[in-house]
Point group: C2
Chain length 347, copies 2
């Protein structure tokens, strides 16, 4: 059924579709026909149309309508959905802290914001594509900055990938940061039959990329895993290229499509949701990466807030295909909005 | 008119279209309807259908036919077109020589083959995407190997790009091989407003890529020039990643589409054809790169021969969208085929 809706809506709206629990969410991108006033209002105030599955059975050419009076209110305020939030997934780099020399530094207000969210009764998890160190070392770094975070609440790509490698009996050639190598302890890397890349930073040398490419092209069916697909991230001394850039490079070189482990992969978000024991529509993801944090979460049926810290750029707010459910100045502002809206929370 | 044919044929054939002097050349990729026996024969023997502009006015659903008895003969032999060859463009690396330590080494038979082609009365030009040294140094290297080549007959991307930079008053940030820097002498590189990448090899470090990315993303309209778009090339010690891989990486990072200078850009081939004073259909390109040499030349209306040396891989002969007019074991074999077919040549 979902496929039918998707195809039907794409034909008529050419928009961005995100499934939600009781329908689909349509973020308009290109106008392919005149719209009704009501539709225009909804798009202007909310950036999207929401429709239940039932209402999607409209005949060809008939205009979709808003779902209910609640939706109309939501469209008017734009933030009504905050009331149903029971859980929060936090991106880390660019939201909690800016990375950089000496491990980076906390973003003002974020230590307190994390504490408020965790104390509120909301279920809070952390979801990072950080692959420069093991999860333990990474959490330790954040504790030193002042964040009170438990390792078991942090989800990162390397442990997820190690499970996949074991399940599929794969032997990786690893092009990852030295700090991450400990995650692969005990993984057989002899006679590699696939390539794994993470945010290897300075290890992304011409020589190492050539070596990974040769392993890849030497396989009958080249298999490339990428720990995330980010374009770039911000360190205290400037923007740095992220793993997605080198994933794209090797994809082009080897004529292969990488399997992404980490955000925005639906499997990865699914593991976090399962651990939270919550439904997607009860959870909001807060990140600085519009496509991988916000868009990825929305594709899974969650809400997504983009914060204007880290790698955020003003042009993100006019992105061609992804529109956040809200844009907030920083994590402190996002936490405040959630905590003053959600009935779950203790205020 | 050409646009109409292209659209019309794409609808019905979903194939690869290359304009030729008196029609278009259709290389079938995907079958979207049953074909007539005659069509199947033509595709099996020649890998393509040839139709004159007149015949392209067929009504919807009508099967295209072969153009004339000459075309039928061509379809039967598959090599009849060799008779009309008046000029030859030779790719260099992987056709004349394999690059590698100490400058590389000539491919057996190629020194003699070049000499035979040049002595035959055919117009011969050399077209390389080599950007690790200036044209003068590059030709000198080939002379040491034993090739008798004049600098004025060699076309490479850097001089073409320098013309573009001057015409458009651009100030490049250069990420190119040290050996190429002399080509940019006198070019203003202060306060760069565009990025130029060539085959920088070991200079493709994480740090240098970050630096190029920051220049790119700092522009209101990011502008990236790439000297070629090759995936990889073969050196004596193995395959090496080519500039196209890093072009793709920066395109992804900066959300920009590069302007390619060099093969397979039509402008670049056009300059060579003009220098030869020949029409595209009179010229054959010989290369080891199916997409950039053969496909690029075919897109300009030339014929293309892929040699099974250099970066050639057997899977090239089953490529999804590009099919060479002929596959030959090496340059010696290609030269022999041309010289024993073309009436222009002195045998």
């Amino acid at each position: 059924m979902e496929h039918f809706f998707k195809k039907h809506l794409m034909t008529h709206f050419n928009g961005f579709i995100a499934p939600v629990s009781d329908g689909v969410r349509v973020i308009e991108r290109v106008t392919t026909r005149p719209r009704t006033d009501a539709e225009c209002d909804a798009i202007l105030t909310q950036g999207c149309l929401e429709m239940s599955n039932e209402e999607l059975h409209f005949p060809e050419g008939r205009a979709p309508r808003m779902r209910s009076s609640v939706s109309r209110m939501a469209a008017a305020s734009g933030m009504e959905w905050l009331k149903s939030v029971k859980g929060v997934i936090l991106d880390m780099c660019g939201v909690l802290y800016d990375s950089g020399e000496g491990g980076g530094q906390a973003i003002p207000g974020s230590i307190e914001a994390v504490k408020r969210l965790m104390d509120s009764g909301l279920t809070v998890r952390f979801c990072t594509n950080e692959t420069q160190s093991t999860r333990e070392q990474f959490v330790q770094k954040l504790r030193v900055m002042g964040f009170d975070i438990s390792v078991s609440h942090v989800f990162s790509p390397a442990p997820a990938l190690v499970r996949i490698l074991r399940e599929r009996r794969l032997r990786p050639h690893l092009l990852v940061h030295d700090g991450l190598m400990a995650e692969f302890e005990g993984v057989d890397t002899s006679s590699p039959n696939c390539v794994v890349i993470g945010d290897a930073a300075d290890k992304f040398s011409y020589q190492n990329l050539n070596e990974a490419f040769r392993v890849l092209i030497g396989q009958e069916k080249p298999l490339l895993f990428s720990l995330g697909r980010g374009r770039y991230y911000k360190e205290t001394d400037g923007l740095k290229l992220d793993v997605g850039v080198f994933m794209t490079a090797l994809e082009y070189a080897g004529d292969v499509q990488a399997e992404v482990v980490g955000k925005p992969a639906a499997d990865f978000f699914g593991t976090v949701l399962k651990d939270m024991s919550l439904q997607p529509h009860e959870v909001v993801m807060i990140g600085d990466d519009l496509v991988n944090d916000v868009g990825g979460a929305q594709s899974c049926g969650m809400k997504g807030i983009q914060v204007r810290t880290g790698k955020y750029r003003p042009s993100d707010e006019q992105h061609a295909s992804v529109r956040a459910d809200a844009y907030m100045d920083d994590l402190a502002a996002a936490a405040h909005a959630i905590l003053t809206s959600s009935p779950t929370t203790e205020r």
